[in-house]
Amino acid sequence: MTVRPSTFALMLLVSAAALACAAPAARAAAAEKSLGVVYADGRQTEDVPLAKLDKESDELFVSAYDLARVFKATKFWNPGNRKLVLRIGNHRYMFTLDTRVVVVDETPVLIRMNVRYRDDGSVMIPLEFIEGVLAPRSIEKIVLDRNRLLLSIGSPEYNVTAIEIVDDKDGTRAELTLTDELLYHIDSDTPGILRLKIYGGRLNPLRFTVPVGKGLLNRVRAEQMDQDAYLFFDVKRGVQRYRVDFEGAGAAAAGAKAPKKLVLFLERGALPEIPGADFAGKKMVEMLDEGARRKIVAPVRTIAIDPGHGGSDIGRMSPSGVKEKDVNLAIALMLRDRLMEELGVSVVMTRTDDVLIPLDERVEKANTAGAQLFISIHCNGWFTSDAEGFEVFFLAPARTEEEAQLGREENASVAYEKQGAPDESGGDIDFILWDMVQNAYLNESSDLAEMVQRELNTSLGIRNRGVKQTGLRVLKGLKMPGVLIETAFLSNPKEEKLLLSTEFRERLVESTIEAVRAFQSRYPGKQ
């Protein structure tokens, strides 16, 4: 008799515990579907949870929280009157809980399902809102694929737009359509694969994947990286020679807005296509056009070497106190001696002591000396100790050829107006021209960068971060091909040790010399 009430309490407790356990399980089951969201603005693709809230309907709901995040909306929630406002783009969308009305700006629009309140505190909006209400009013392109549960927001501006493969008796052509004449690099380091890198290229990888063979091509694959686009051509074994070039490059420059055709040509080689024959390791040879790419470069007789930073500008200081300026100078001096010894070239240094030389002055020194190559030596730095590897840079011009032409015209008119009174200050116009000087050498600079990268890759044994094209100040105004080598990270203790070792420095110097040798053989110049 005395036991009964406590047993009752115990029973209550047990059933309460069971209830508490059951609730999260139910929630987990509700959120099993998700919506893949693909952005054009640089955000990573992500999965957003979806919920099915209605027994009668299959409609999926997304939380207002996620919706606001995905569409970068401004959100206002008032539980008092059960209203939620999202401001997306130029429109204001007001939802009222448990109704089908969405007030767009001042106009009510009906959707099929009610906006719901979920017990975890979320306001849930049916997907129908995205396709029926939001997408038609959006400036950005919004596409919801219901079958694949995929939402894509915005359309990136592609500048590599199409690929076409043509096969005839001479060989196979892969014709790429570009909106601009972008810089490219091709190599065949992997047997059977031609890798085409398009600097600043933006493409839709899905549209450039050609899975079925045609002519001398087995298949084509594309990759979009942060800055550049890559195309990988899997080539039949019989191919010995290839060529890549803009078709009618000179004529195309006249119509700046006309699409450009970048053509990869695979020559139908003398080697027969023997099934099963082993050509592995065989390298394809690039056919070089004697006229265009090589004519402007004189034979390499003088090389300018630029040890980064100096004097009060110490560059990067490692946690243990090693100064970048000192490492740069030591490597640069070693490079100077070996270059003179092994290649018999003369070398001009932008500094040989621990002094601060302004960047323009460094460029001036190299230009005045009439150097044919410019190599800047640096050590890299990062905010944590995680970053590693070497990286080779060449210049991305800040201005396009059209803007430069405008600059030249303005310059000419100013000179005409001020006859007899030459403008010493120059101002912005000189600055534009200064920026443009290196443009004439970008092909050669990118070739040199790729060559340095390839040599360092085989000898340094640290991560290859690749070749990057950026707007580095010290390469602006150079009247010669120029690169900047970030040898390794002083912010990484392992690489700091390497940078201090003679052995690592020697490998660095020898590889750089090998790259210069390769450059000399590709650009022998007019003797």
């Binding site: 929630r27 929630w77 730095g381 970053a387 800040a398 100040r473 990270f489």
Partner: protein
Amino acid sequence: MKRLIVIALVALAVVLAAVYLVPRLRPTGPAEVQKVSEEMRAVTIFFGNKGADGFVSETREVPATQGFEDQVKLVLAELIKGAHDTDKAAAIPDSTQLVQVFWVEDTQTLVLDFNKAFTANHPGGSTGEYYTIANVIKTVSANFPQVARVQFLVEGNQIESIAGHYAIDKPIDVKKWR
């Protein structure tokens, strides 16, 4: 006996309170239910990944203030605060502060005036410096499409560069810079 009934009732009350309250107290999701929210804006902040070989973003919510310059300050404050995730690294030097923000509507130029730490505490390196500029520019252009150019200042003055590799003395075109 009476005492036992009282105990049972108290136990019952506790259990009922637990069943009723616990699901509501547990922070199960978005905070929007807890209070009448002020107007919040979802914004995208760009960081580098920790190995410095790519950009990664996080979404944050900031109060939607009226003034454009204040809004820029709030958004860049999120960048300066750093990433939540240890796989990401904000390429912003220690103790950096955004002192002032000006918006020049005629030329669509956003002027950002940082304190001395922005250059003094920079770890250097072409990669480090590249990501510093890119993190600011990408974050600005993702959230403020009206901005065409960004002018960096340090303590109110134009400076040549942050760490000696990239020129920032002139306004940077957010679409073309690389």
